[in-house]
């Protein structure tokens, strides 16, 4: 077990180091120098010597491998360099913009899990075949809807037509309703799809028939016996869902004009501010790798069969 743990952590570290190296090579070593873009602007009236001085200040004149070492060392210490465009370090920029995004994303996840769970149970338990088919095809529709369009339609319907959610001076809670719904629907879709399939598969297992034969109701069997067994496939896509959640938040924030990670990402791309984008990319990769590591460690707790060596049980 300990050996497995060490090897999994080692693998995670390698993936992160490779991700950092790739993003460094892509974003810092290639053209599109943010310092030149900002300071070569004729309105600033800087001489080439002054620009060179600024480059020295940012460390952009050092050989590439020195820059790589320095950047890696700084990242390991949790310092993400300077946003050339805003003229401030990336860290405070992240510190102010991360919390609203995290709040939106975590609320979105909670709502998505509730929607997916309700949908999966309804699609499995609904009384008529046509109704079950209809409910089962809903996630495919939800996956095909562009997130940004969904947000715009929700504003259109609930704010402008029905006037249910005010857009001028909304309370903190009101301002979050539509963004959270927008974000959660596309996340709920794959979750519901996997949950429905996995519920279907587990339901045909012998132990379910045994429980039913003993007189347990369908809903009770689903809740007590099936759900726990059906959760595992859902956990395996947790890391991917985290990524989708982050990407969804970026788009949702743009649609609803919320200040957060999405806004600084958009600005970073428009201004070729590579340091900011690199920090966000690496943070996302760290989150993805950590979640997958956690899932690997937690999965045996949910399903003890995973602890037995492969081949011992069939």
């Amino acid at each position: 077990m300990t050996r497995l743990l060490v090897s999994r952590i080692g693998q995670a570290a390698i993936v992160l180091l490779l991700a950092f190296t790739a993003s460094f090579l892509l974003l810092q070593a290639l053209p599109g120098d943010a310092i030149l873009i900002k300071y070569q602007n004729p309105e600033m009236g800087l001489t080439p010597e002054q620009i060179a001085e600024i480059r020295v200040l940012y460390g952009a004149d050092a050989p590439i491998w020195v820059q790589y070492g320095n950047t890696l060392w700084n990242f390991l210490q949790g310092s993400f360099g300077y946003s050339v465009q805003a003229g401030v370090p990336v860290n405070p920029l992240l510190a102010t913009n991360l919390p609203p995004t995290l709040r939106l994303a975590s609320l979105g996840l909670v709502v998505a899990v509730i929607i997916a769970g309700a949908l999966a149970f309804a699609a499995t338990l609904a009384p008529f075949a046509w109704l079950r088919n209809l409910l089962q095809s809903l996630p495919a529709l939800m996956i095909s809807v562009p997130v940004f369009w969904l947000g715009i339609m929700l504003i259109q319907i609930f704010s402008f037509r029905l006037r249910l959610v005010p857009i001028i001076n909304p309370s903190e809670f009101q301002a979050l309703i539509l963004p959270v719904v927008t974000l959660s629907l596309p996340i709920a879709a794959p979750l519901a799809q996997i949950l429905i399939r996995s519920l279907d598969e587990v339901q045909t297992q012998p132990f379910v028939s045994v429980a039913r034969a003993k007189g347990a109701s369908r809903a009770w069997v689903l809740w007590r016996h099936v759900l726990r067994n059906a959760l595992l496939p859902v956990l395996t896509i947790a890391g991917v869902l985290f990524g989708e959640l982050l990407a969804g938040a970026v788009v949702t924030e743009t649609v609803f004009g919320i200040n957060g990670l999405g806004r600084i990402t958009e600005q970073a791309v428009s201004n070729q501010d590579t340091a900011v984008l690199q920090a966000i990319v690496i943070l996302a990769a760290v989150g993805f790798v950590l979640i997958n590591l956690l899932v690997d460690l937690v999965a045996p707790l949910i399903d003890p069969r995973l602890n037995t060596p492969i081949g011992a049980s069939a």
Binding site: L18, I143, P146, I152, Q156, Q193, V240, G243, T265
Partner: protein, 282 residues
């Protein structure tokens, strides 16, 4: 990506009773795709209006007989803009799928057939590509390549390389164990020749169905990047851009945003349905 995970969990074979009902949706899906391709090839045959030039005094008309889907803020017909925008989205999606398909299939084929250290190295690269959310990876590539339809398409394509590679590798490993491949090696076939003649054709089926699925996802991703403003510049009628422009007139002109979005949804749904039908029943 989640699309790959969903894709590889196979559905149970469909019963005969549902076949007829499902065929209707399949025919409809093909019809939608054929119409979209026709729009891209000959937009002028489907609308008398221009996709980029507006008519004065015709601004922000609600849908009526003359303009089925209404007009925008400078009097351009919305349906015409959607029709003329088809070429951008379809071309972008084709480029994206080709980039992902060629890159991913090549990587997966090498990883699955050569094995050993090469396999480990390629799969680590795939892991890295998968560890960054698709949108952020696309933005990282766009920041280097710059804005524009082709660059956006390439960025979307690169993001799917990892999924293609993983799927191709698993297919190659499955096919390599087959008796006829062993027989081809046993009867003196060269490594590359066996790979090309036997392994590649037999492992491509599933990957092609996946490519159809990715076509829809690519259209979705391209419209998102177009909406954020990284695709084709404004007068171009790109679907994501249409929605982004229509946002300014949200209070009155709902048709500016609603119809381009519905177009995207229909096409994505159609490609998903077609991809499903291409998969071999298991």
């Amino acid at each position: 990506m989640s699309s790959l995970d969903l894709f590889t969990t196979r559905r149970p074979a469909l019963g005969l009773g549902r076949l007829r009902q499902l065929d209707v949706t399949l025919v409809l899906s093909w019809a939608i795709i054929i119409v979209a391709i026709a729009w891209a090839v000959a937009p002028g045959a489907f609308t008398p209006h221009s996709g980029t030039v507006g008519i004065a005094g015709n601004q922000l008309r609600a849908p009526d007989v003359a303009h089925w889907l209404g007009t925008d803020e400078i009097g351009r017909d919305v349906l015409a803009r959607i029709i003329y925008g088809s070429i951008n989205s379809l071309f972008g999606a084709v480029v994206a799928v080709i980039v992902g398909f060629v890159g991913g299939t090549a990587l997966g084929l090498v990883a699955g057939s050569v094995g050993g250290r090469t396999d480990t190295l390629i799969m680590r690269i795939v892991d890295v590509l998968l560890s960054v959310p698709g949108l952020l990876l696309q933005l990282s590539i766009i920041i280097i390549l710059g804005f524009g339809t082709v660059n956006v398409a390439i960025a979307v394509g690169v993001t799917t390389v990892a999924s293609f590679a993983r799927l191709m590798r698993s297919e190659v490993i499955r096919v390599r164990r087959a008796d006829y491949v062993e027989a081809a090696f046993g009867s003196g076939g060269r490594f590359a020749a066996v790979l090309w003649r036997h392994v590649l054709p037999n492992s491509l089926g599933t990957v092609i169905a996946f490519a159809a699925l990715q076509f829809g996802s690519a259209i979705l991703a391209i419209s998102t990047l177009g909406f954020l403003g990284y695709g084709a510049p404004p007068p171009t009628p790109e679907w994501g851009l249409l929605i982004s422009e229509g946002r300014k007139y949200l209070t009155g002109a709902w048709w500016l945003t609603a119809f381009p979005g519905i177009t995207v949804i229909l096409i994505v749904l159609a490609t998903h349905r077609i991809s499903q039908s291409l998969r071999r029943p298991s």
